[in-house]
Amino acid sequence: MTTASSEPSVPASTPLLEVRDVTVHHGQLKAISDVSLQVSPGQVYAMIGANGAGKSTLMRTIAGLHSPTSGQILLDGNDVTRLRPERRATAGITMVPEGRRLFPSLTLEENLKVGASYARTGPWDIPAVMELFPFMKDRRKQKTAQLSGGEQQQVAIGRALVANPRLLLLDELSLGLAPVIVQRIYDVLPQILESGVTVLLVEQDVAQARRVASYLHCLLEGHTTLEGPPAEFTPEQVEAAYFGMGGTH
């Protein structure tokens, strides 16, 4: 198990996303302390941790919704720390926010069209997303409030995908959804990866994260407590890092 102060192992290729010693405050409260991470192209990088560990804050900081107090965020080696969220989206980072956050007064198709408004060029467009989630075809004219939670989550993923991101941030996909629905949503992950999109996700369900991720990163109270490929850790080690038992915290 590595501690917050040690260097993460450097992947062979240039990282798509690099977070360098980022600290984020919510007012007086320190939400993230000196967290670093590197996401390589093609990876499924999973952030795990308990409630309030700072996972969502870190995701929102990467997406540009929070400004770090110190540290840097680099996309493909370019510093994007001061870039506004809408510019980061067009630079290739889009996020499926926690709670889905669809536009309630817009129809399903309009939600996707907003996502496609400033899209980069790439394999994803509205027909391709509707191919990925076939239920959308018949319900494109419906307001998203009429959709089930799982369907709304798929619309949120579609809205982020049509922008043709290089890095897709998925924040708590499984929140409030039945396990069978969650599984169905995660089933499309291979197709998303195949299209060349790299995925950084936040997941409270450790078992789910271990199943899909090629790299795990555990946060506890804003500090890194564990990181590496999931095969390197026993469930006990992950549990200890997750809850802070037997650790220094």
């Binding site: 309630p104 007064s105 069209k113």
Partner: protein, 291 residues
């Protein structure tokens, strides 16, 4: 029969009120900005029209696109500078800032144009032209033209908001600004576009008012702003067609009140306004619930 005439006149003047109200409703619906300078901006539109006609001697109809364009630019610039920085400090700050803007505009207009009443000359032929429905009901062409213009503006706005790309983005930003940012939407620019559209409608409303009546630098807060607010509240916040209904109800109430006793004209309008506020605070057409 005199009542029928009053109701028709009231409906027609309601079109003008709707024209005032739709910009106010749009700004509130999209940005939650209660623009207290709205009436003054209409007066600015009227004065731009007066000034443009006086300088270039263009036909008065040509002044309308010029005014709308200039007001749209003004709207975009004001939104991106003054109103946005007020919004960043909280929604209540916009009240104070637009109130200040109102005072600045009124005094600025008085400085440049004096306090004299002015109007946009449409020629006495159009100002007094009318047609008879029967021996007792006579309807002026100018109110009819303004009413039709108001309906067209509302139709265009409706289409713009529901079917155009920027309309969709405006609704998305109004729904969830952060989620829109995450989709790459520049919310500040979208707000600027919404303000430009709202200001163009208020400019048109100002020119229409200047044609049908006269303006002074203080007409904005004394009448236009109050009528616009009343129309929006009666019709229901955030509903475009509600503003037309609200304007019509207000106009009819005023005309009928004036028929009973000429001093009741204003009173009747505000009595209806208060009655709606008490009995149906969400407005007559509350289509969109405020969340």
């Amino acid at each position: 029969m005199v009542w029928v005439s009053d109701i028709i006149q009231g409906i027609l003047v309601g079109g003008l009120y709707a024209l005032f109200a739709c910009g106010l409703s749009l700004l509130f619906g999209v940005m939650k900005v209660v623009n207290l300078a709205h009436g003054d901006l209409a007066v600015v539109g009227a004065y731009i029209g007066i000034g443009v006609i006086a300088v270039t001697h263009m036909p008065f109809l040509w002044s309308i696109p010029v005014v709308c364009l200039l007001m749209a630019v003004l709207g975009y610039v004001l939104q991106r500078s003054l109103i946005q920085s007020a919004l960043n400090r909280g929604e209540l700050t916009t009240l104070i800032v637009t109130f200040g803007l109102s005072i600045v505009i009124e005094n600025g207009l008085q400085q440049f144009f004096t306090a004299n009443t002015r109007g946009i000359g449409v020629g006495s032929s159009l100002l007094t032209a009318s047609f008879k429905l029967n021996s007792q009901i006579q309807i002026g062409w100018l109110p009819v033209i303004i009413f039709v213009a108001a309906v067209i503006v509302l139709l265009v706005l409706q289409y713009f908001l529901s079917a155009s790309k920027y309309g969709r983005l405006i609704r998305a930003v109004a729904d969830d600004r952060e989620a829109a940012l995450l989709s790459g939407v520049n919310a500040r620019h979208v707000f600027g576009v919404a303000a430009a559209v709202a200001f163009a409608t208020v400019g048109l409303a100002g020119v229409a008012y200047g044609m049908a009546s006269t303006v002074t630098p203080f007409t904005g807060t004394q009448t236009i702003l109050l009528f616009a607010f009343a129309a929006v509240v009666i019709g229901g916040l955030g509903s475009l067609w509600g503003t037309l209904l609200g304007g019509i109800v207000l106009g009819v109430a005023q005309e009928v009140g004036a028929q009973i006793n000429i001093s009741y004209e204003q009173l009747a309008g505000y009595v209806i306004f208060l009655a709606v506020l008490v009995l149906r605070p969400q407005g007559l057409t509350a289509r969109r619930s405020q969340s």
